[in-house]
Symmetry: D2
Subunit: 360 residues, 4 copies
Amino acid sequence: MAGNSFGTVFRVTTWGESHGRAVGAVVDGCPAGLDLSEEEVQRELDRRRPGYSTVSTARREEDRADILSGLFEGKTTGTPISILVWNRDAQSGAYDLLRNRPRPGHADWPYLARYGIRDHRGGGRSSARETVGRVAAGAVAKTLLAGEGIEVAGYVRELGGIRGELQESWDISSLREEAEKNPVRCPDQLAAKEMIQAVEAARGAGDSLGGVAEIIAVGVPPGLGEPVFDKLDADLASALMGIGAVKAVEIGAGVEAARMWGSESNDPLLPGLKFETNNAGGILGGISTGSPIICRISVKPTPSISMPQRTVDLSTGEAAEIEIRGRHDPTIPPRIVPVAEAMVALVLADHLLRRRMARV
Amino acid sequence: MAGNSFGTVFRVTTWGESHGRAVGAVVDGCPAGLDLSEEEVQRELDRRRPGYSTVSTARREEDRADILSGLFEGKTTGTPISILVWNRDAQSGAYDLLRNRPRPGHADWPYLARYGIRDHRGGGRSSARETVGRVAAGAVAKTLLAGEGIEVAGYVRELGGIRGELQESWDISSLREEAEKNPVRCPDQLAAKEMIQAVEAARGAGDSLGGVAEIIAVGVPPGLGEPVFDKLDADLASALMGIGAVKAVEIGAGVEAARMWGSESNDPLLPGLKFETNNAGGILGGISTGSPIICRISVKPTPSISMPQRTVDLSTGEAAEIEIRGRHDPTIPPRIVPVAEAMVALVLADHLLRRRMARV
Amino acid sequence: MAGNSFGTVFRVTTWGESHGRAVGAVVDGCPAGLDLSEEEVQRELDRRRPGYSTVSTARREEDRADILSGLFEGKTTGTPISILVWNRDAQSGAYDLLRNRPRPGHADWPYLARYGIRDHRGGGRSSARETVGRVAAGAVAKTLLAGEGIEVAGYVRELGGIRGELQESWDISSLREEAEKNPVRCPDQLAAKEMIQAVEAARGAGDSLGGVAEIIAVGVPPGLGEPVFDKLDADLASALMGIGAVKAVEIGAGVEAARMWGSESNDPLLPGLKFETNNAGGILGGISTGSPIICRISVKPTPSISMPQRTVDLSTGEAAEIEIRGRHDPTIPPRIVPVAEAMVALVLADHLLRRRMARV
Amino acid sequence: MAGNSFGTVFRVTTWGESHGRAVGAVVDGCPAGLDLSEEEVQRELDRRRPGYSTVSTARREEDRADILSGLFEGKTTGTPISILVWNRDAQSGAYDLLRNRPRPGHADWPYLARYGIRDHRGGGRSSARETVGRVAAGAVAKTLLAGEGIEVAGYVRELGGIRGELQESWDISSLREEAEKNPVRCPDQLAAKEMIQAVEAARGAGDSLGGVAEIIAVGVPPGLGEPVFDKLDADLASALMGIGAVKAVEIGAGVEAARMWGSESNDPLLPGLKFETNNAGGILGGISTGSPIICRISVKPTPSISMPQRTVDLSTGEAAEIEIRGRHDPTIPPRIVPVAEAMVALVLADHLLRRRMARV
């Protein structure tokens, strides 16, 4: 109820602050008998790691996934899978100035308003560091999904106003492969180059950029999702809007659907119960149709910028300035991709299991 | 778990199908001692009622809210509030043709894929009729919120590509008043006229239109929302994406945030802990800031159109045509407004109560 | 969260007060495709009805189950099953004296301490009338269980200190049949006669009697129950202790287990994975073993007695007397049997569905 | 849903197996601002530690509580409190013989029936080792309760048929102090001596003993508990029945209530809204009355006995013998006391917070 758990059957609880001793996740509800290895979890953690390129923050996070329970002889046992990652690189000193000056665009002030107490060293639970647990849990979910032929992949579609295009011939493997070739995770290599330049320019100006990422899931069978409140699209919206910096979630045609005619928006059904088009983004009435699931998120620019910004000094109540030091990503979408994939995988794994209860 | 309940502390369960005997809601977790009357619930039900204009469907729904429990001498008692509305106008015959031909853009096929059985008379639980329960429960939530000085209002911002503008001088009461003056619920009266013409044109062509609605909540204190998974924006996204026909949810700057610079997107804090701008839409890190909450939904065109559409005959597996008869709204946004308000009110009421647990 | 729902997958929400307009239940999570009829629900409601004999209260409750949703052509559709029973026989006047004098042994005072408001006409939600919803929902659960070969039956084992004995030759059908032959629901007909005399004597003295009921479930497959917190026995304990007037719950050997040696208490396993004895009551480590589930409840005497009792007048704070008028059962166990069966059935139905998630 | 979490608002998730790398708990929903130290958690862990006497198992568990998150400058921050205890003393070899021979009285066989896979080294999640997480979480709950003037204490009331008596003059502190003076945790020192002899005799015979423990909570204000399903007594019953080896739970008069008359069972109310007696055990209608909460559990004898026992060999399906080697407690009640206290504290902490939502 305090909002640190996600999912109903396949359920993850994350814990840990950016400047505490460790972060982690407990995955509860993973069925017994699944082949799972620490390597698979590690691979996903490596994908979310910053510092692998000039585009991302230089802060060094060498995150080793430690699986402490729930596995026996390489298989899940049906008991909770506890995954722990130690924190190593905490330079709390850099945050001393922030104790009394809430950073614009950050959760500092509402957090304090809520709890009356705040670990000012970094964002606490609101830090991107918390997503380590999500990605680790998502790796378990992806393993479960893979066994059912479901794959999830994400990429950056737009960054700093520059739009990348997909090629029709790509399947989901090609898409993923192309996206992982460059640090902005845009599969359109030309657009990717422009994006990198735009990010460097923003960094040079002490500013930051927003963008759009898209997450696709293929192989999802029809019939996933509850019909009224825990609709598949409602759960995906919650999963994705709940990632820091996301300000919009779209499914299928998304915002464009508002400008369509019904005759254009409706996807015709074809023999074989396939759909000719996919404006629905693979979901009708909250239930999967068998077509690929398409989700899109709009990500605001990194709020931590080095330019001076106006804020308030909480000790005096007066206007004050703040300059945020330290290493920060000048743009979030490339790093958000593995996190968003993890959240989509968690939702799909949950509903895959929930569907088992739909019929006698 | 079967997805017919919403909310954690303030929790509503809806039940009933479009062509069953009744629809209803059970509101559990409403605190004791709240002044509540059937009239307040009825007022909101009347707002969602179709048929009050040429723009909306001519189907007559005279929905009387019957409160069967949870009230004593005009006050809530802390026990479940059961609200029932009888179904009256079920013309099931009109749906016979649909038994084997899933309607494009509807949940017919995925629903059948999930349950293996389907009440083909209308959309069952996927029908807009289900929202009667949401609106009734939302009325209870609004009453609770009003006691804390919180108001929720919605309006149509765009319809068929026509955009209405707000006037800076309007407060939330003026906004609501202006919006309720016309059947498309657009407070910009000139734009409203154009919208009505567009809707009539679509109806004439046997087609339908999409649009955008915006829901605003004022008076929301800072500190509402959990910091990781049950973020206020994540719960709003779930609440709103879970309404039929919604394909995108935005908070604050929404999709536009992706094209901003950080220096532009960050809302500066001012003395008094107010924010100069509200790109955040009243939420940072998933927690309310004290600024107005701004949500926007993109609504696809009504999938029920009278033009012939391509589908599949389930009995033969072959291609087939479908023409949807009967009275259907040619556009959804005007009627979605009270439903979306209800969902926003449910989320806020829930988090208002959840905040009580944040501190010792 | 306000405690009006029970179960996780197979979940029932009850609503309604003893002196309100109606009582009811919403069953959510019943799988689609189950054959269900109003008659089956009615049969169970008839079993809990008081007034059929001199032993039970003369108050007339003619409860008709009205199923308002979730059924189509005689089968469940996977959507919520809403069941409503109107209240008819409310004589609120009889309760006026109770407004300021909390009844000893009743929830009157703690209820007021909790909510600050109380419908003094009867027990509100604490009334036995609330169990109408439980029994109706339990009837749905029993139907689901029957399809899997699981049967649940209960009987009165002890009343007013008189103990009935079971015959070894009885199967569960004979047990049920014998128990339903007399108004105290004791299958030992000789003991039943004595019990009836004891009850009549208590009624004559303006007093009441306690007793013990036992609930048995046969056909339960091994593997039901979660291993740590939602153990099958823990959920049964919650289900049964949550019925008004129950003060102890035992599984298998129960309180006697405390006086056994390990070599006596352990049930040996036999080839075929059957157990020689059943001190475990069919549950080990919280998981069903395949042996019959055995639960026992100790029920306190009816707190509503006509003798004068000492209480406090809430308006003055001073000592006061109370004499409870009206028709009340002088003993609860016979009427608790169908309620306890319903609760056991709800737990088993829930865990039957939950087990579907245990393996990949 | 997989049953590794307990509580609604104040919620603990435990993880870890007896022979895995570590065990732990994540406490979610502890309010911000509570003074909490590792020492307080350690103190309770030390109380559950075996091996401190000849009565308990000689197996050495030196459990150090490591709090990894949720604390800042000695206070809780409202975020999850992750507590980890490394496993040190795993001698898995001792369990090799058990791979194919389910131990009578243990969860071995039903566990395998459920999951199809089982870590045969010890009981896995069914091991008493899992209670480390419960006790650690319970220590946090006790700290929260102490701030509200609520104290929880337990003791052994009966062991091997020997009954200890309480002295009327004892308050809860004296009771706890007396109980902790001897290894069987019985505050009646004479009875304790006899109990120790009985335990030693059982150990000598390769057998084991059962007993009864009682848990008392004082200072609990009236109004805790939901009125229908999450009754305070229902939740306590679930909490206590869910501890391994417990076969019965009683509240107040418990099984004796079944033999009382109503005039004897009802506790009269006195001016000041106190109760003259406490047959109710501090709970009426599922809600606390302000009187002490009294719970009693009947604990079966340790199932691990060194005598030869009959079981089945899973590889052949034939009858087999088993002799359980290694160090095992010959009786459970003394060690169950801190676990049962922890569970009671978790329930009370949860309902203390839930009560905050009862009124507007």
